[in-house]
Structure formats: C-alpha cells, structure tokens
Amino acid sequence: MADLVQGAQEHRAPADLPRPSLFELFWQFMIIGAVSFGGGIIAYEQILLVEKKKWLDLDDFMATLAISQTMPGLNSVNMAVLTGDRLCGVPGALAAGIGLILPGAAFVLIVGIAYLAKPDHPIADLLLAGIAAGATGLLAAITYKIGQTHLQHVISCIIIITTFVLMSIFKLPLIMVLLIMAPIALFIYRPK
C-alpha cells in the first residue's frame, strides 16, 4: 500500500515535469477559452499541453482525455481540471477550469443580456430563426460525427435507438433513462 501511495505521488508530480505557475495555467487556458470559436477545444488543449508547453506527454494526455470522456461534465472542462490538478493540485484545477470558461461566460452574458433586452423587432426575430436553424444543423453534424463509428455495430445502434425512444418518445426523466440504460450497457460491455 505504501508503495502504491508513493507511486501515485511520483506519478502525479515527476521531478522532470515542468511545473507552471498558477497564473501561467490560468492564462494559457484562458487563451484557449477565448480563441476557440466554433469548438475543437480538445485539439487546442492537446497543442498547448503536449506540444507547446510539454506539460504532459502524449500518453498522459490520452489517458487524461479518456477519464475526461468517461466522467460526466464537459470533456474540455474535465480535461482542464484534471491537468490543472496534475500540475499544481486543487488550485491548479481551479485556475485552469476558471480560465477556460471565463471568456465564453463573459461573451454569453453580454450577448445574452442584449438578447433579453431586445425590443421585439421583426428583423431580430427572423435573424434568430435563421441562427436557430443553423444551430440545429450544427448539432446534427456533431452528433453524426461522434456517432458514425457506432453505426456499424448493431448493439451500439440498439442502445442509441432505445435511449432516444425512452427520452424523446416515452419522455422519461433523464435520470430514469440513465438508471435503465447504464446497467444494461455496462453488462453488455463488461470486461471479459
């Protein structure tokens, strides 16, 4: 057990791992949060962590990404929190996470206030209708791109369709859908 704990500490902060300052962490993630218009944040994070600053090697990055994708929450935010913790502990997790969401939060708040304050102008309504139609296309494209590898697998397709039917047709609460589907899917994909 002592070995394990020792190993964990070594793994988390190896001597050769460059240790950024909290401000450096915050600043670098804030730049990503500010420039990543149109998504692709994970790619920006990979460039920052693996190539630009070499805070993680590629194996570490992929392992951290796998945990980020497994846990609930936004993958890009989980990734920032995990690497921040890895490099500087809990303060690092906070610095990286806050840095990543700050620019988008400010943007959304300003545009959102403008939206809520908008006088009911017919042109604004038409513009918003077009934007909503475009966002529908974007969401469909993201869903297809993430889901396409599953389309060849019959079992995956059955899980996808069943989840959709429970959520959208039977209109079950999300927590019920997860309580039904997660144990079934876990049983199907259990380690053999």
């Binding site: 609930p72 929450g73 934007i131 529908t136 296309g137 869903t143 889901g147 599953h150 989840t163």
Partner: protein, 178 residues
C-alpha cells in the same frame, strides 16, 4: 429570489452530474425542466442555445443566460457554479483514484457503455432543438445546408450559423411580401 436561486442550484447541479459524454446529453432534459419549472418556452430555449453556439470556449456556456434571466447576476453565477462544479469535483476525485490504481479494464468498459447512451441522448437533443427551430421550408433548407457543409468540409461552425441567420432573415423578410 432565494428560493429561485436554490431551485436553480438543485436543477443545474443535478444536470451537471447527469451530463454523460458532455453537456449536449442534458439538452432535452434542460429544455423540459426550464419549461415546466421556470416557464421558459421551447423557442426561447432554442434561441438562447443557438446564440450560445457563437461563443468561444466550452459549448454549454449559454446556461448562465437562463440564470441571468430568472435571477439576475446572482442567478447567472449560481447556474455557472452549479453546472460546472459538481462534475468537476467528481472528475477530479475519480481522476486521482484512477491515477492511483492505474488503467483498469472497467474504465474502458464504462466509457464503451456510456458512449452509445450519450449519442442516443444527443439524438434526443437534435430532435428537441429541431422541433422548436424547424418550422418551414426555409429553416429546413438552412439546417440541411449547415449539416452538409459541416460533414463535407472543415468550415468553422460560427460563420455557418451567422450566415444561416443572415440568409434566413433575408429570405423570410422578402418572401413575407409575396
């Protein structure tokens, strides 16, 4: 006011922990809860969601607009913390344990199991957003055009959504005269 903040905190805190595979998985649930508990109609939900897609950074930042609308800046801050803190704390805790025990076949199993569920929920998200946003030939055409462009090119979605807004507005404006 305080009760609204507590209600927002509970709602978005739970959504945070249910967001398997990313924020998009909770879109349909969020739309239903905001409608039933906070009287935000579906069209308004979809409009705020769509505007949010123009923002840089993580793609669910628009949640704070609902907090702002319902309870001002305190509401925005409450929603921001409730939606991002619980999942982050959980991820950090589990992440540390994972580093300690090393890669286990169960992590892969959990990821494999949750992926198709999360895609199913994203399909529900597309369905929920489309039901409010698609209401005629112009919106169908715009949505399909954006979808096709994104599937067959590397175009930046922000420009496509803005173009969709402008083209949609002019088409609907001019056809309204005929």
């Amino acid at each position: 006011m305080i009760s609204t903040l507590i209600q927002l905190m509970m709602t978005f805190g739970l959504l945070s922990l249910l967001a398997v595979g990313g924020g998009t998985a909770v879109l349909p649930e969020m739309q239903i809860i905001l409608n039933q508990q906070f009287q935000i109609d579906h069209m308004k939900f979809v409009e705020v969601y769509s505007i949010g897609q123009l923002a840089p950074g993580p793609n669910m930042m628009m949640v704070i607009v609902f907090g702002f609308q319902l309870a001002g800046l305190a509401g925005a801050l409450t929603v921001l913390l409730s939606f991002f803190l619980p999942s982050s704390i959980l991820c950090l805790t589990v992440g540390r344990i994972w580093v300690r025990i090393g890669e286990s076949p169960w992590r892969r199993a959990v990821q494999n199991a949750l992926e198709p569920i999360s895609i199913g929920l994203m399909c529900s998200g597309v369905y929920a957003v489309a039901k409010a946003a698609i209401n005629g030939p112009v919106s169908i055409g715009l949505a399909l055009a954006v979808l096709a462009t994104l599937l067959f090119s590397q175009a930046n979605p922000v420009y496509l959504i803005l173009a969709s807004g402008l083209i949609g507005a002019s088409l609907m404006y001019f056809t309204s005269f005929t």
